[in-house]
Protein backbone atom coordinates (compact mmCIF):
# COMPACT_ATOMS: atom_id res chain seq x y z
CA UNK A 1 0.00 0.00 0.00
CA UNK A 2 1.16 3.50 -0.81
CA UNK A 3 0.05 6.89 0.41
CA UNK A 4 -1.86 7.69 -2.82
CA UNK A 5 -3.82 4.45 -2.34
CA UNK A 6 -5.50 6.01 0.70
CA UNK A 7 -6.58 9.03 -1.35
CA UNK A 8 -8.15 6.84 -4.02
CA UNK A 9 -9.98 4.78 -1.40
CA UNK A 10 -11.38 7.89 0.25
CA UNK A 11 -12.65 9.26 -3.07
CA UNK A 12 -14.37 5.93 -3.76
CA UNK A 13 -15.93 5.90 -0.31
CA UNK A 14 -17.41 9.39 -0.69
CA UNK A 15 -18.78 8.77 -4.15
CA UNK A 16 -21.57 11.35 -4.05
CA UNK A 17 -19.39 14.08 -2.58
CA UNK A 18 -16.59 13.25 -5.01
CA UNK A 19 -19.00 13.27 -7.94
CA UNK A 20 -20.49 16.61 -6.87
CA UNK A 21 -17.07 18.16 -6.44
CA UNK A 22 -15.99 16.91 -9.84
CA UNK A 23 -19.24 18.17 -11.33
CA UNK A 24 -18.82 21.61 -9.75
CA UNK A 25 -15.30 22.05 -11.04
CA UNK A 26 -16.23 20.44 -14.36
CA UNK A 27 -18.99 23.01 -14.83
CA UNK A 28 -16.49 25.82 -14.34
CA UNK A 29 -14.13 24.20 -16.83
CA UNK A 30 -17.02 23.57 -19.21
CA UNK A 31 -18.12 27.19 -19.07
CA UNK A 32 -14.57 28.34 -19.69
CA UNK A 33 -14.14 25.92 -22.60
CA UNK A 34 -17.53 26.79 -24.10
CA UNK A 35 -16.95 30.52 -23.70
CA UNK A 36 -13.53 30.22 -25.29
CA UNK A 37 -14.99 28.29 -28.21
CA UNK A 38 -17.97 30.59 -28.65
CA UNK A 39 -15.85 33.73 -28.27
CA UNK A 40 -13.31 32.52 -30.80
CA UNK A 41 -16.10 31.54 -33.16
CA UNK A 42 -17.85 34.88 -32.72
CA UNK A 43 -14.59 36.69 -33.32
CA UNK A 44 -13.89 34.58 -36.35
CA UNK A 45 -17.38 34.99 -37.74
CA UNK A 46 -17.53 38.70 -37.00
CA UNK A 47 -14.06 39.21 -38.36
CA UNK A 48 -14.85 37.41 -41.60
CA UNK A 49 -17.94 39.52 -42.07
CA UNK A 50 -16.02 42.70 -41.39
CA UNK A 51 -13.17 41.57 -43.60
CA UNK A 52 -15.58 40.96 -46.42
CA UNK A 53 -17.37 44.21 -45.77
CA UNK A 54 -15.07 46.64 -47.52
CA UNK A 55 -11.41 47.01 -48.15
CA UNK A 56 -8.90 47.21 -45.38
CA UNK A 57 -5.79 47.73 -47.51
CA UNK A 58 -5.31 50.44 -50.09
CA UNK A 59 -2.55 50.40 -52.71
CA UNK A 60 -1.60 53.62 -54.47
CA UNK A 61 1.25 54.78 -56.66
CA UNK A 62 4.04 56.45 -54.69
CA UNK A 63 3.72 59.93 -56.28
CA UNK A 64 2.00 62.57 -54.15
CA UNK A 65 0.22 65.15 -56.25
CA UNK A 66 -3.39 64.97 -55.17
CA UNK A 67 -5.28 63.75 -52.17
CA UNK A 68 -8.48 61.80 -52.22
CA UNK A 69 -11.08 61.43 -49.54
CA UNK A 70 -12.00 57.81 -49.89
CA UNK A 71 -14.56 56.02 -47.77
CA UNK A 72 -14.49 58.77 -45.19
CA UNK A 73 -10.76 58.25 -44.86
CA UNK A 74 -8.15 60.66 -46.00
CA UNK A 75 -5.95 58.87 -48.49
CA UNK A 76 -2.99 60.93 -49.52
CA UNK A 77 -0.91 60.63 -52.62
CA UNK A 78 -3.22 59.68 -55.48
CA UNK A 79 -1.86 60.77 -58.77
CA UNK A 80 -4.42 60.44 -61.47
CA UNK A 81 -2.88 59.33 -64.63
CA UNK A 82 -0.02 57.61 -62.88
CA UNK A 83 0.97 54.42 -64.63
CA UNK A 84 3.01 52.98 -61.84
CA UNK A 85 0.32 50.46 -60.99
CA UNK A 86 -0.73 47.99 -63.58
CA UNK A 87 -2.77 44.86 -64.19
CA UNK A 88 0.28 42.68 -63.66
CA UNK A 89 0.40 43.88 -60.04
CA UNK A 90 -2.86 42.06 -59.31
CA UNK A 91 -1.19 38.70 -59.76
CA UNK A 92 1.72 39.79 -57.55
CA UNK A 93 -0.66 40.67 -54.74
CA UNK A 94 -2.22 37.23 -54.94
CA UNK A 95 1.22 35.66 -54.76
CA UNK A 96 2.21 36.94 -51.31
CA UNK A 97 2.98 34.54 -48.47
CA UNK A 98 -0.36 35.22 -46.78
CA UNK A 99 -2.27 34.90 -50.04
CA UNK A 100 -4.90 32.74 -48.39
CA UNK A 101 -5.89 35.80 -46.36
CA UNK A 102 -6.62 37.84 -49.47
CA UNK A 103 -10.38 37.78 -50.02
CA UNK A 104 -10.87 40.31 -52.79
CA UNK A 105 -8.58 42.43 -54.97
CA UNK A 106 -10.32 45.33 -56.67
CA UNK A 107 -8.41 47.33 -59.31
CA UNK A 108 -9.55 50.86 -60.18
CA UNK A 109 -8.62 53.48 -62.73
CA UNK A 110 -9.70 57.07 -62.15
CA UNK A 111 -9.85 59.67 -64.87
CA UNK A 112 -11.43 63.09 -65.06
CA UNK A 113 -13.64 63.45 -68.15
CA UNK A 114 -16.04 65.86 -69.69
CA UNK A 115 -19.49 64.32 -69.68
CA UNK A 116 -22.40 66.30 -71.04
CA UNK A 117 -20.40 69.47 -70.50
CA UNK A 118 -19.54 68.76 -66.84
CA UNK A 119 -16.32 67.57 -65.29
CA UNK A 120 -16.85 64.19 -63.72
CA UNK A 121 -14.49 61.59 -62.32
CA UNK A 122 -14.91 58.33 -64.20
CA UNK A 123 -13.86 55.18 -62.41
CA UNK A 124 -12.97 52.05 -64.30
CA UNK A 125 -13.76 49.01 -62.19
CA UNK A 126 -14.24 45.29 -62.33
CA UNK A 127 -17.96 45.23 -61.55
CA UNK A 128 -17.98 41.69 -60.12
CA UNK A 129 -15.20 42.47 -57.66
CA UNK A 130 -16.68 45.84 -56.85
CA UNK A 131 -20.08 44.43 -56.00
CA UNK A 132 -18.43 41.68 -53.92
CA UNK A 133 -16.40 44.24 -51.99
CA UNK A 134 -19.15 46.80 -51.58
CA UNK A 135 -22.01 44.68 -50.42
CA UNK A 136 -23.95 47.76 -49.41
CA UNK A 137 -24.28 48.90 -53.05
CA UNK A 138 -27.84 48.94 -54.25
CA UNK A 139 -28.90 50.22 -57.66
CA UNK A 140 -31.98 50.99 -59.65
CA UNK A 141 -32.00 49.54 -63.14
CA UNK A 142 -29.74 46.59 -63.77
CA UNK A 143 -26.20 45.58 -62.97
CA UNK A 144 -23.76 46.47 -65.73
CA UNK A 145 -22.87 43.35 -67.69
CA UNK A 146 -22.02 44.67 -71.13
CA UNK A 147 -18.65 46.33 -71.95
CA UNK A 148 -20.37 49.67 -72.67
CA UNK A 149 -22.62 49.65 -69.59
CA UNK A 150 -22.14 52.24 -66.93
CA UNK A 151 -23.26 52.63 -63.33
CA UNK A 152 -23.77 56.17 -62.15
CA UNK A 153 -23.37 57.39 -58.60
CA UNK A 154 -26.52 59.05 -57.25
CA UNK A 155 -25.08 62.60 -57.13
CA UNK A 156 -23.49 62.23 -60.56
CA UNK A 157 -26.75 60.92 -62.01
CA UNK A 158 -28.66 63.84 -60.52
CA UNK A 159 -26.12 66.38 -61.82
CA UNK A 160 -26.12 64.85 -65.31
CA UNK A 161 -29.85 64.09 -65.18
CA UNK A 162 -29.31 60.41 -65.93
CA UNK A 163 -31.69 57.50 -65.63
CA UNK A 164 -31.34 53.81 -66.49
CA UNK A 165 -31.35 53.20 -70.24
CA UNK A 166 -29.98 56.66 -71.10
CA UNK A 167 -27.17 56.94 -73.59
CA UNK A 168 -24.00 58.77 -72.66
CA UNK A 169 -20.83 59.80 -74.45
CA UNK A 170 -17.51 59.69 -72.66
CA UNK A 171 -14.31 60.60 -74.50
CA UNK A 172 -16.08 60.12 -77.77
CA UNK A 173 -17.16 56.61 -76.83
CA UNK A 174 -20.76 55.57 -76.56
CA UNK A 175 -22.10 54.11 -73.24
CA UNK A 176 -25.46 53.11 -71.84
CA UNK A 177 -26.65 53.78 -68.28
CA UNK A 178 -27.44 50.32 -66.90
CA UNK A 179 -28.19 51.44 -63.36
CA UNK A 180 -28.10 54.29 -60.85
CA UNK A 181 -26.56 53.66 -57.42
CA UNK A 182 -28.76 54.54 -54.51
CA UNK A 183 -27.11 57.05 -52.24
CA UNK A 184 -24.17 55.60 -50.32
CA UNK A 185 -22.97 58.70 -48.50
CA UNK A 186 -19.50 58.12 -49.87
CA UNK A 187 -17.40 59.48 -52.71
CA UNK A 188 -19.00 56.77 -54.89
CA UNK A 189 -22.09 58.99 -55.21
CA UNK A 190 -20.08 61.45 -57.33
CA UNK A 191 -18.50 58.93 -59.65
CA UNK A 192 -19.43 57.37 -62.97
CA UNK A 193 -18.41 53.71 -63.07
CA UNK A 194 -17.49 51.98 -66.30
CA UNK A 195 -15.78 48.66 -66.81
CA UNK A 196 -12.02 48.69 -66.24
CA UNK A 197 -11.09 47.51 -69.79
CA UNK A 198 -13.37 50.18 -71.23
CA UNK A 199 -11.79 52.89 -69.08
CA UNK A 200 -8.28 51.78 -69.99
CA UNK A 201 -9.28 51.83 -73.66
CA UNK A 202 -11.20 55.14 -73.85
CA UNK A 203 -8.64 57.03 -71.77
CA UNK A 204 -5.79 55.30 -73.57
CA UNK A 205 -4.20 54.02 -70.38
CA UNK A 206 -3.11 50.60 -71.59
CA UNK A 207 -3.04 48.37 -68.47
CA UNK A 208 -2.56 51.20 -65.99
CA UNK A 209 -4.37 51.38 -62.66
CA UNK A 210 -4.89 54.31 -60.27
CA UNK A 211 -5.55 52.31 -57.14
CA UNK A 212 -6.04 48.79 -55.91
CA UNK A 213 -8.31 48.00 -53.00
CA UNK A 214 -7.67 44.79 -51.07
CA UNK A 215 -9.93 43.05 -48.64
CA UNK A 216 -7.81 40.81 -46.44
CA UNK A 217 -9.29 38.24 -44.10
CA UNK A 218 -7.32 39.05 -41.04
CA UNK A 219 -8.79 36.93 -38.26
CA UNK A 220 -5.54 35.19 -37.68
CA UNK A 221 -3.15 37.31 -39.65
CA UNK A 222 -1.31 40.46 -38.74
CA UNK A 223 -2.48 43.10 -41.18
CA UNK A 224 0.87 44.82 -40.93
CA UNK A 225 2.54 41.68 -42.16
CA UNK A 226 0.27 41.52 -45.21
CA UNK A 227 0.89 45.18 -45.91
CA UNK A 228 4.64 44.56 -45.71
CA UNK A 229 4.41 41.54 -47.99
CA UNK A 230 2.47 43.51 -50.62
CA UNK A 231 4.95 46.36 -50.25
CA UNK A 232 7.78 43.97 -51.02
CA UNK A 233 6.00 42.70 -54.13
CA UNK A 234 5.11 46.23 -55.29
CA UNK A 235 8.13 48.41 -54.50
CA UNK A 236 6.75 51.36 -56.52
CA UNK A 237 3.47 51.39 -54.65
CA UNK A 238 2.31 52.92 -51.43
CA UNK A 239 0.49 50.24 -49.41
CA UNK A 240 -1.66 51.39 -46.53
CA UNK A 241 -3.78 49.63 -43.97
CA UNK A 242 -7.07 51.35 -43.31
CA UNK A 243 -6.54 51.61 -39.57
CA UNK A 244 -9.98 52.85 -38.85
CA UNK A 245 -11.57 49.66 -40.17
CA UNK A 246 -9.10 47.43 -38.39
CA UNK A 247 -9.23 49.25 -35.11
CA UNK A 248 -13.03 49.20 -35.08
CA UNK A 249 -12.90 45.49 -35.68
CA UNK A 250 -10.27 44.91 -33.01
CA UNK A 251 -12.20 47.02 -30.55
CA UNK A 252 -15.31 44.89 -30.97
CA UNK A 253 -13.26 41.73 -30.65
CA UNK A 254 -11.57 42.97 -27.52
CA UNK A 255 -14.93 43.73 -25.97
CA UNK A 256 -16.18 40.23 -26.73
CA UNK A 257 -12.97 38.73 -25.35
CA UNK A 258 -13.01 40.85 -22.20
CA UNK A 259 -16.59 39.87 -21.49
CA UNK A 260 -15.66 36.23 -21.91
CA UNK A 261 -12.63 36.56 -19.63
CA UNK A 262 -14.59 38.33 -16.89
CA UNK A 263 -17.29 35.68 -16.98
CA UNK A 264 -14.72 32.86 -16.96
CA UNK A 265 -12.82 34.36 -14.04
CA UNK A 266 -16.04 34.76 -12.04
CA UNK A 267 -17.03 31.15 -12.66
CA UNK A 268 -13.56 29.85 -11.89
CA UNK A 269 -13.39 31.83 -8.65
CA UNK A 270 -16.75 30.44 -7.67
CA UNK A 271 -15.53 26.90 -8.36
CA UNK A 272 -12.35 27.52 -6.36
CA UNK A 273 -14.41 28.77 -3.44
CA UNK A 274 -16.67 25.74 -3.65
CA UNK A 275 -13.70 23.35 -3.55
CA UNK A 276 -12.12 25.29 -0.72
CA UNK A 277 -15.27 25.12 1.40
CA UNK A 278 -15.75 21.47 0.50
CA UNK A 279 -12.17 20.61 1.45
CA UNK A 280 -12.36 22.54 4.71
CA UNK A 281 -15.52 20.72 5.66
CA UNK A 282 -13.98 17.41 4.63
CA UNK A 283 -10.91 18.08 6.77
CA UNK A 284 -13.10 18.74 9.82
CA UNK A 285 -14.89 15.44 9.23
CA UNK A 286 -11.58 13.62 8.79
CA UNK A 287 -9.71 15.03 11.78
CA UNK A 288 -9.78 11.70 13.62
CA UNK A 289 -8.59 9.80 10.57
CA UNK A 290 -5.75 12.28 10.04
CA UNK A 291 -4.87 11.89 13.72
CA UNK A 292 -4.63 8.11 13.19
CA UNK A 293 -2.32 8.65 10.21
CA UNK A 294 -0.08 10.86 12.29
CA UNK A 295 -0.16 8.46 15.26
CA UNK A 296 0.99 5.51 13.16
CA UNK A 297 3.93 7.46 11.78
CA UNK A 298 2.74 9.56 8.84
CA UNK A 299 4.69 12.78 8.52
CA UNK A 300 3.01 16.05 7.67
CA UNK A 301 4.13 15.69 4.08
CA UNK A 302 2.41 12.29 3.85
CA UNK A 303 -0.91 13.75 5.03
CA UNK A 304 -0.44 16.62 2.59
CA UNK A 305 0.29 14.10 -0.18
CA UNK A 306 -2.90 12.11 0.54
CA UNK A 307 -5.11 15.21 0.39
CA UNK A 308 -3.44 16.88 -2.58
CA UNK A 309 -3.49 13.61 -4.48
CA UNK A 310 -7.24 13.40 -3.92
CA UNK A 311 -7.56 16.95 -5.16
CA UNK A 312 -5.42 16.16 -8.21
CA UNK A 313 -7.62 13.19 -9.14
CA UNK A 314 -10.76 15.33 -8.75
CA UNK A 315 -9.19 18.07 -10.86
CA UNK A 316 -8.10 15.72 -13.65
CA UNK A 317 -11.53 14.11 -13.77
CA UNK A 318 -13.17 17.55 -13.78
CA UNK A 319 -10.84 18.56 -16.61
CA UNK A 320 -11.99 15.64 -18.76
CA UNK A 321 -15.68 16.00 -17.93
CA UNK A 322 -15.52 19.79 -18.20
CA UNK A 323 -13.88 19.70 -21.59
CA UNK A 324 -16.50 17.29 -22.94
CA UNK A 325 -19.33 19.35 -21.40
CA UNK A 326 -17.76 22.52 -22.79
CA UNK A 327 -17.60 21.21 -26.34
CA UNK A 328 -21.14 19.89 -26.13
CA UNK A 329 -22.38 23.16 -24.66
CA UNK A 330 -20.71 25.23 -27.34
CA UNK A 331 -22.19 23.09 -30.10
CA UNK A 332 -25.63 23.22 -28.49
CA UNK A 333 -25.36 27.01 -28.18
CA UNK A 334 -24.20 27.35 -31.79
CA UNK A 335 -27.65 27.87 -33.37
CA UNK A 336 -28.60 30.37 -30.68
CA UNK A 337 -25.52 32.42 -31.46
CA UNK A 338 -26.08 32.20 -35.22
CA UNK A 339 -22.77 30.42 -35.70
CA UNK A 340 -22.10 27.82 -38.38
CA UNK A 341 -19.08 26.25 -36.72
CA UNK A 342 -17.16 26.33 -33.47
CA UNK A 343 -13.53 27.37 -33.36
CA UNK A 344 -10.81 26.70 -30.84
CA UNK A 345 -11.20 23.07 -29.81
CA UNK A 346 -7.64 22.12 -30.51
CA UNK A 347 -4.91 20.74 -28.31
CA UNK A 348 -4.36 24.18 -26.78
CA UNK A 349 -7.94 24.24 -25.48
CA UNK A 350 -7.56 20.74 -24.04
CA UNK A 351 -4.33 21.73 -22.30
CA UNK A 352 -5.89 24.95 -21.05
CA UNK A 353 -8.89 23.03 -19.68
CA UNK A 354 -6.65 20.63 -17.78
CA UNK A 355 -4.27 23.33 -16.60
CA UNK A 356 -7.18 25.42 -15.38
CA UNK A 357 -8.83 22.48 -13.67
CA UNK A 358 -5.65 21.37 -11.92
CA UNK A 359 -4.67 24.90 -10.97
CA UNK A 360 -8.06 25.70 -9.49
CA UNK A 361 -8.58 22.29 -7.86
CA UNK A 362 -5.13 21.93 -6.34
CA UNK A 363 -4.61 25.55 -5.35
CA UNK A 364 -8.00 25.66 -3.61
CA UNK A 365 -6.99 22.51 -1.71
CA UNK A 366 -3.55 23.68 -0.60
CA UNK A 367 -4.60 25.62 2.48
CA UNK A 368 -7.10 23.01 3.78
CA UNK A 369 -4.53 20.26 3.16
CA UNK A 370 -1.83 22.27 4.90
CA UNK A 371 -4.18 22.87 7.82
CA UNK A 372 -4.93 19.14 8.01
CA UNK A 373 -1.24 18.24 7.87
CA UNK A 374 -0.64 20.49 10.88
CA UNK A 375 -3.19 18.62 12.99
CA UNK A 376 -1.58 17.05 16.03
CA UNK A 377 -1.90 13.27 16.38
CA UNK A 378 -3.53 13.67 19.79
CA UNK A 379 -6.70 14.45 17.81
CA UNK A 380 -7.02 10.68 17.32
CA UNK A 381 -7.03 10.24 21.07
CA UNK A 382 -9.76 12.74 21.87
CA UNK A 383 -12.13 9.94 22.72
CA UNK A 384 -10.01 9.08 25.75
Amino acid sequence: MRVYHIGLKNLKRRRVRTALTILGLALAVAIEVALTGITKSLEYDFSRKLDEYGANILILPKSDDLSLDYGGLSVAGVTFGSEKLGMSDLAKIKAIKNSENIATVVPQLFHAADVNGRNVIVSGVDFNSEFRLKRWWRSSGSRPDEPDDILAGSAAAQALNLKPGDDLEIAKHHFRVAGILTETGSQDDKLIFISLPAAQKVFDKGEALSMIEVSALCYNCPIDSIVAQIGEKLPNAQVMALRQTIETKMDVMHRIRHFSIILSVAVVLFAALMIFVNMMSSITEREKEIGIFRAVGFKRKHVLAVLLFESLIVSLSAGIVGYLFGISGAYLARPLMGLHGIQGFGIDTILTAFALSIFVGVSAAIYPAYKAARLEPTVALRSL
Binding site: I6, R13, I292, A295, V296, K299, L381, S383, L384
Partner: protein, 249 residues
Protein backbone atom coordinates in the same frame (compact mmCIF):
# COMPACT_ATOMS: atom_id res chain seq x y z
CA UNK B 1 19.75 1.40 30.90
CA UNK B 2 15.98 0.91 30.78
CA UNK B 3 14.11 0.80 27.48
CA UNK B 4 11.94 3.73 28.54
CA UNK B 5 13.32 6.41 30.85
CA UNK B 6 10.82 8.99 32.04
CA UNK B 7 12.17 11.96 33.97
CA UNK B 8 10.13 14.63 35.75
CA UNK B 9 7.29 14.77 33.28
CA UNK B 10 4.90 17.64 33.86
CA UNK B 11 1.90 18.72 31.84
CA UNK B 12 -0.59 21.48 32.53
CA UNK B 13 -3.77 22.01 30.50
CA UNK B 14 -5.08 25.55 30.51
CA UNK B 15 -8.63 26.35 29.50
CA UNK B 16 -9.47 30.02 29.89
CA UNK B 17 -8.31 31.04 33.35
CA UNK B 18 -8.34 27.49 34.68
CA UNK B 19 -5.16 25.40 34.74
CA UNK B 20 -5.18 21.67 35.42
CA UNK B 21 -2.03 19.79 36.35
CA UNK B 22 -2.37 16.53 34.41
CA UNK B 23 1.10 15.32 35.35
CA UNK B 24 3.32 16.48 38.20
CA UNK B 25 7.01 15.59 37.90
CA UNK B 26 6.44 11.94 37.02
CA UNK B 27 9.54 9.78 36.77
CA UNK B 28 9.66 6.11 35.82
CA UNK B 29 11.84 3.50 34.18
CA UNK B 30 10.40 0.66 32.15
CA UNK B 31 12.64 -2.17 31.08
CA UNK B 32 12.57 -4.25 27.98
CA UNK B 33 9.90 -6.93 28.07
CA UNK B 34 7.80 -5.45 30.86
CA UNK B 35 4.02 -5.53 30.73
CA UNK B 36 2.91 -2.50 32.68
CA UNK B 37 -0.70 -1.77 33.52
CA UNK B 38 -1.43 1.85 34.35
CA UNK B 39 -4.45 2.34 36.54
CA UNK B 40 -6.19 5.21 38.23
CA UNK B 41 -9.46 7.11 38.29
CA UNK B 42 -10.57 9.33 35.41
CA UNK B 43 -8.59 12.56 35.27
CA UNK B 44 -5.65 11.07 37.16
CA UNK B 45 -3.31 11.73 34.23
CA UNK B 46 -2.79 8.19 32.97
CA UNK B 47 -3.90 8.89 29.39
CA UNK B 48 -1.83 12.07 29.26
CA UNK B 49 1.08 9.99 30.50
CA UNK B 50 0.52 7.47 27.70
CA UNK B 51 0.32 10.12 24.94
CA UNK B 52 3.53 11.77 26.14
CA UNK B 53 5.38 8.46 26.34
CA UNK B 54 4.06 7.62 22.87
CA UNK B 55 5.46 10.81 21.34
CA UNK B 56 2.03 12.18 20.56
CA UNK B 57 2.06 15.18 22.86
CA UNK B 58 5.06 17.04 24.23
CA UNK B 59 5.38 17.56 27.99
CA UNK B 60 5.80 21.01 29.49
CA UNK B 61 8.93 19.80 31.20
CA UNK B 62 10.83 16.56 31.66
CA UNK B 63 12.22 14.00 29.25
CA UNK B 64 11.15 10.74 27.65
CA UNK B 65 14.05 8.60 26.52
CA UNK B 66 13.25 5.50 24.49
CA UNK B 67 16.08 3.19 23.62
CA UNK B 68 18.53 5.98 24.50
CA UNK B 69 16.74 8.47 22.25
CA UNK B 70 15.43 11.62 23.88
CA UNK B 71 12.27 11.60 21.78
CA UNK B 72 11.24 15.24 22.23
CA UNK B 73 14.64 16.43 21.14
CA UNK B 74 13.89 14.94 17.73
CA UNK B 75 12.51 17.07 14.92
CA UNK B 76 8.83 16.61 14.10
CA UNK B 77 9.52 14.19 11.23
CA UNK B 78 12.00 12.30 13.38
CA UNK B 79 9.31 11.86 16.00
CA UNK B 80 6.96 10.49 13.31
CA UNK B 81 9.66 8.00 12.29
CA UNK B 82 10.17 7.01 15.90
CA UNK B 83 6.44 6.42 16.42
CA UNK B 84 6.35 4.26 13.32
CA UNK B 85 9.47 2.23 14.13
CA UNK B 86 9.31 1.90 17.90
CA UNK B 87 5.70 2.16 18.98
CA UNK B 88 2.45 0.44 18.17
CA UNK B 89 -0.74 2.09 19.39
CA UNK B 90 -3.94 0.31 20.36
CA UNK B 91 -6.91 2.53 21.22
CA UNK B 92 -10.12 1.92 23.11
CA UNK B 93 -12.27 2.85 20.12
CA UNK B 94 -10.04 0.83 17.76
CA UNK B 95 -9.43 3.88 15.54
CA UNK B 96 -9.51 1.97 12.30
CA UNK B 97 -9.91 3.87 9.03
CA UNK B 98 -13.47 2.96 7.99
CA UNK B 99 -12.94 2.96 4.21
CA UNK B 100 -9.84 0.79 4.28
CA UNK B 101 -10.30 -2.95 4.54
CA UNK B 102 -8.69 -5.09 7.23
CA UNK B 103 -5.52 -5.71 5.25
CA UNK B 104 -5.17 -2.03 4.32
CA UNK B 105 -5.71 -0.91 7.91
CA UNK B 106 -3.00 -3.27 9.05
CA UNK B 107 -0.68 -1.97 6.32
CA UNK B 108 -1.34 1.69 7.15
CA UNK B 109 1.95 2.31 9.03
CA UNK B 110 3.86 0.88 6.06
CA UNK B 111 2.24 3.22 3.49
CA UNK B 112 4.82 5.99 3.90
CA UNK B 113 7.71 3.50 3.77
CA UNK B 114 9.27 2.20 0.61
CA UNK B 115 8.56 -1.44 1.40
CA UNK B 116 7.55 -3.43 -1.66
CA UNK B 117 3.89 -4.33 -1.99
CA UNK B 118 4.58 -8.09 -2.01
CA UNK B 119 6.60 -7.90 1.15
CA UNK B 120 3.99 -5.71 2.80
CA UNK B 121 1.26 -8.22 2.01
CA UNK B 122 3.37 -11.13 3.23
CA UNK B 123 4.12 -9.47 6.57
CA UNK B 124 0.49 -8.41 7.04
CA UNK B 125 -0.67 -11.93 6.10
CA UNK B 126 1.49 -13.47 8.85
CA UNK B 127 0.22 -11.02 11.47
CA UNK B 128 -3.42 -11.42 10.43
CA UNK B 129 -3.00 -15.19 10.69
CA UNK B 130 -1.57 -14.70 14.16
CA UNK B 131 -4.56 -12.64 15.31
CA UNK B 132 -6.95 -15.04 13.58
CA UNK B 133 -8.30 -12.65 10.93
CA UNK B 134 -6.58 -13.79 7.74
CA UNK B 135 -9.89 -14.90 6.26
CA UNK B 136 -11.37 -11.45 6.81
CA UNK B 137 -8.55 -9.49 5.20
CA UNK B 138 -10.87 -7.96 2.59
CA UNK B 139 -13.63 -7.02 5.03
CA UNK B 140 -14.26 -3.42 6.03
CA UNK B 141 -14.03 -2.60 9.76
CA UNK B 142 -17.78 -1.98 9.88
CA UNK B 143 -18.35 -5.63 8.96
CA UNK B 144 -16.42 -6.91 11.98
CA UNK B 145 -17.31 -7.41 15.63
CA UNK B 146 -15.73 -5.21 18.28
CA UNK B 147 -13.27 -7.93 19.26
CA UNK B 148 -12.27 -8.47 15.66
CA UNK B 149 -11.77 -4.74 15.13
CA UNK B 150 -9.50 -4.61 18.16
CA UNK B 151 -7.52 -7.54 16.78
CA UNK B 152 -7.09 -5.59 13.55
CA UNK B 153 -5.87 -2.63 15.61
CA UNK B 154 -3.40 -4.90 17.39
CA UNK B 155 -2.25 -6.31 14.06
CA UNK B 156 -1.73 -2.74 12.81
CA UNK B 157 0.27 -1.98 15.96
CA UNK B 158 2.49 -4.99 15.26
CA UNK B 159 3.09 -4.50 11.53
CA UNK B 160 6.36 -2.62 12.02
CA UNK B 161 7.50 -5.03 14.72
CA UNK B 162 7.78 -2.24 17.29
CA UNK B 163 9.57 -2.59 20.62
CA UNK B 164 6.72 -1.03 22.54
CA UNK B 165 2.97 -1.37 22.44
CA UNK B 166 0.96 1.41 24.04
CA UNK B 167 -2.65 0.45 24.67
CA UNK B 168 -5.27 2.75 26.06
CA UNK B 169 -8.25 0.87 27.50
CA UNK B 170 -8.07 -1.70 24.68
CA UNK B 171 -10.94 -3.69 26.16
CA UNK B 172 -13.06 -0.69 27.14
CA UNK B 173 -15.58 -1.29 24.35
CA UNK B 174 -15.61 -5.09 24.49
CA UNK B 175 -17.63 -7.69 26.37
CA UNK B 176 -16.00 -9.80 29.06
CA UNK B 177 -15.25 -12.88 26.98
CA UNK B 178 -13.80 -10.87 24.10
CA UNK B 179 -11.83 -8.75 26.55
CA UNK B 180 -10.25 -11.88 27.99
CA UNK B 181 -9.18 -13.10 24.58
CA UNK B 182 -7.65 -9.68 23.76
CA UNK B 183 -5.78 -9.71 27.06
CA UNK B 184 -4.52 -13.21 26.26
CA UNK B 185 -3.23 -11.85 22.99
CA UNK B 186 -1.40 -9.04 24.77
CA UNK B 187 0.05 -11.54 27.19
CA UNK B 188 1.27 -13.67 24.31
CA UNK B 189 2.89 -10.64 22.67
CA UNK B 190 4.58 -9.78 25.95
CA UNK B 191 5.90 -13.30 26.25
CA UNK B 192 7.40 -12.91 22.80
CA UNK B 193 9.31 -9.89 24.03
CA UNK B 194 7.11 -6.87 23.37
CA UNK B 195 7.14 -4.20 26.03
CA UNK B 196 3.55 -3.24 26.78
CA UNK B 197 2.23 -0.17 28.55
CA UNK B 198 -1.51 -0.46 29.02
CA UNK B 199 -3.97 1.97 30.57
CA UNK B 200 -6.95 0.14 32.06
CA UNK B 201 -9.71 0.57 34.57
CA UNK B 202 -10.04 -3.12 35.20
CA UNK B 203 -8.05 -4.24 38.29
CA UNK B 204 -8.44 -7.82 37.14
CA UNK B 205 -5.99 -7.21 34.30
CA UNK B 206 -3.14 -6.68 36.75
CA UNK B 207 -2.75 -10.45 36.66
CA UNK B 208 -1.71 -10.32 33.00
CA UNK B 209 0.97 -7.73 33.64
CA UNK B 210 4.40 -7.86 35.18
CA UNK B 211 4.01 -4.50 36.81
CA UNK B 212 1.15 -2.25 37.88
CA UNK B 213 1.32 1.50 38.32
CA UNK B 214 -1.34 3.60 40.04
CA UNK B 215 -1.94 7.25 39.19
CA UNK B 216 -3.68 9.83 41.36
CA UNK B 217 -3.86 13.55 40.57
CA UNK B 218 -1.03 13.44 38.06
CA UNK B 219 1.44 11.53 40.20
CA UNK B 220 2.37 7.88 40.64
CA UNK B 221 1.10 6.65 43.99
CA UNK B 222 1.81 2.95 43.51
CA UNK B 223 4.33 0.88 41.57
CA UNK B 224 4.00 -2.85 42.01
CA UNK B 225 6.79 -4.66 40.11
CA UNK B 226 6.29 -8.42 40.03
CA UNK B 227 9.19 -9.66 37.92
CA UNK B 228 11.33 -8.81 34.91
CA UNK B 229 10.82 -11.41 32.20
CA UNK B 230 13.74 -13.05 30.48
CA UNK B 231 14.20 -11.88 26.89
CA UNK B 232 14.70 -14.56 24.29
CA UNK B 233 18.04 -14.61 22.45
CA UNK B 234 16.36 -13.96 19.07
CA UNK B 235 14.48 -10.99 20.41
CA UNK B 236 17.58 -9.50 22.03
CA UNK B 237 19.43 -9.79 18.69
CA UNK B 238 16.67 -7.99 16.78
CA UNK B 239 16.50 -5.32 19.43
CA UNK B 240 20.24 -4.61 19.22
CA UNK B 241 19.96 -4.37 15.43
CA UNK B 242 17.15 -1.82 15.67
CA UNK B 243 19.06 0.20 18.23
CA UNK B 244 22.13 0.28 15.97
CA UNK B 245 20.09 1.62 13.07
CA UNK B 246 18.92 4.57 15.15
CA UNK B 247 22.29 5.18 16.73
CA UNK B 248 24.05 5.32 13.39
CA UNK B 249 21.35 6.98 11.26
Amino acid sequence: MSLIEIENLSKVYTIGDTSTHALRAVSLQIDDGEFVTVMGPSGSGKSTFLTIVGGLSAPMSGRVVIDEIDIYSLRRDGLSDLRREYIGFVFQSFNLVPYLNVLENVLLPLAPTGMQAKKQTAVAGDILTEVGLYEKAKHLPGELSGGEQQRVAIARALINDPLIILADEPTGNLDTATSESIMQLFKLLNERGKTILMVTHNPGYRSYSTRAIDFRDGTIVGDDMKYIPQMSADYREGREFQQNIWTHD
